[in-house]
């Protein structure tokens, strides 16, 4: 049994790999002590190796993990396993967004990652949804179904929120604003993809891949590529970590 734990900024994910298939997985909120959450998740499981990834990886290795890899490598391994031959990954998590290029052997050959700010991340969407009084699930749905959008100029979470508030107060329909917020995230992601370059198939991992509007708009923006979303996009990093455990 190989366990991968992805200690992210919003959630902790765990994947159990038995050498042939994914036999179990769990997703919980990170809370204040993500490593404690992770410890609880793996309690009682008999593991040959535990590999940690994500923001809390080093903390995890102080407490329980045998090895540590970055989430960039972990997503590379996870996607290569799910979509062999796919050489481009977009991963949008709670705190950051990344575009990763893989070589033919599935190894990371290049990557881009947002630095300081939350623009284009799950956190950005969450804050904007809150500002428009949507739940996260409703937010993506409403944006997908909107027939029009207004223009949002700012990518910065703080400025975009002010922009959204002033639009609200000008009476712009809520779903139009929702769509504009999604559009701004997609612009940012496609910009990162253009800078790094991408292949025929692009895998979309991380929690934001469950947002139907982002997926739809990103696919429309990249007509020459095929966007593929794993069945469980949240746990790709944890799966990659578990696979790494089986490799070493």
């Amino acid at each position: 049994m190989y366990i991968g734990v992805d200690l992210g900024s919003r959630t902790v994910k765990m994947a159990v790999w038995d050498g042939k298939r994914l036999v179990d997985y769990k997703i919980v909120e990170s809370g204040f002590e993500p490593h404690r959450q992770a410890e609880k998740m793996i309690a009682g499981l008999k593991a040959t190796t535990v590999v940690a990834t994500g923001y809390g990886r080093h903390l995890a290795s102080e407490y329980f993990a045998d090895h540590v890899i970055t989430e960039i490598k972990a997503h590379g391994l996870g996607v290569y396993h799910q979509f062999p031959g796919c050489t481009t990954i977009v991963d949008v998590g709670g705190q950051d967004s990344k575009v990763i290029a893989l070589n033919a052997r599935g190894k990371v050959s290049n990557f881009q990652m947002n630095d300081k700010c939350a623009a284009g991340t799950g956190r950005f969407l969450e804050i904007m949804a809150g500002s428009l009084a949507y739940s996260l699930d409703e937010f993506g749905q409403a944006a997908l179904l909107a027939d029009q959008e207004v223009q949002i100029n700012s990518m910065c979470t703080v400025f975009a929120e002010s922009e959204v508030i002033s639009m609200k107060n000008r009476g712009a329909p809520r779903d139009h604003i929702a769509r504009a917020v999604h559009s701004s995230v997609v612009d940012r992601l496609s910009g990162m993809l253009a800078r790094l370059g991408y292949g025929e198939e692009i895998a979309f991992s991380g929690g934001v891949a469950r947002n139907p509007c982002i997926v739809h708009m990103l696919q429309k923006k990249l007509p020459e590529a095929r966007l593929v979303v794993p069945e469980l996009p949240d746990i790709i990093g944890a799966l990659g970590a578990a696979l790494h455990g089986a490799e070493i």
Partner: protein, 428 residues
Amino acid sequence: MTFEIKPYPELWQSLDMDVERFDKARLMLGEAYEKTYLSQQNRPGAMAYFDNMIAEIHGGRIKELMAAKAEGRPVIGTFCVYIPEEIVLAAGGICVGLCGGSQGSVPDAEKTLPRNICPMVKSAFGFKAGRICPYFQAVDFVYGETTCDAKKKTWEILDKMVPTYVMEIPQCKNPRDIALWNEEVKAFKAKVEEVAGKTISESDLAWAIKTMNNKRRALQRLNSLRHHKPCPISGKDGLLIEQIAFYDEPIRFTEKVNELCDELEGRIKVGEAVPTKNATRVMIAGTPMALPNWKIHNLVEGAGAVIVNEESCIGTRYFKDLIDESVSTMNEMLAALTDRYKEIDCSCFTPNNERLNQVVKEFRDSQAHGVINYSLQFCHTYNIEEIRIREACEKEGIPYMFIESDYSPEDIGQLQTRIEAFLEQIRD
């Protein structure tokens, strides 16, 4: 034993510093130094001198500057490797690179300057505004230059607090630009002579050129020893010495760097390595890392790799070129000096193709496995030149990563992930 930056409250008082605040900054710097530097394993013994240069950074060295001033020798503060130190030295003066590498002074600057400009310019300005840099307090004047917009417009404001002169550095390297530059070097000489109350003789300048060349040779020697595989000294220590080069007395500094190099040669003979024999080797390219900016080195070496070269102003751009010592008339020497300074390949020049080749050359020379191109936030010229450096590295198949950052700690988490992922990419 705990490390301490030595306090000199009376000296600071006499320099009209904010003593109470500065004393706190001193404790923080001492703590950071202990954590970053003294925790390293297997450091060369000759680093003791440089540790002491840090312990005495706000005292012992300042006393030396004040003693020189008492003798009527000028102390001139600068911010750029384009200001010819030889001329200051030839007039009996002292040239010091001023403080500008700390987040602590940025809020002082942001009371006046715009927020969205270079952190080095803000930090430097803040050190003067907050009266928290003894070097700034000790200098007779500052000699700035026109290498970037943030600096050249800040000089106008800084001048209200400390006399600030400006050397015009051209933006191209055509013959007419070099002629202008040569005139600027002569004007700088006239200004220094005026303050020193002394005419620089040919033998003064010849001596100064030789002294500075020897300092550059010592730094070149250290750099080439860092290129050895396995590396005999950490990148953090290498960077520290390059930083100290900007405020130490040049003859003593040269001697001490050479002593360290002797020790490193001994280490190489027995195969002693820092941190380990197979450590991943990283080269830094880009903007200067002014003391105490050890952010990237801390992260890279904290992840088990070693930095083997800095293609930077606080790095090879400062010492890679020597001045021709074979000429002897004043005009010939000034022309030779200008000639050497024009070899510095700062991104403020256009075109700046020499730098693309230099990055690739230093990558090869240093036997690095990958390049991290580092640019200070809002440094437009390095930030845009990044595109061409990336293309040059990609063409050569050199693993490459770009980091834009300032002095604040808020992006440490993301940077750590990116740096570790880059090292994984190289190792896989």
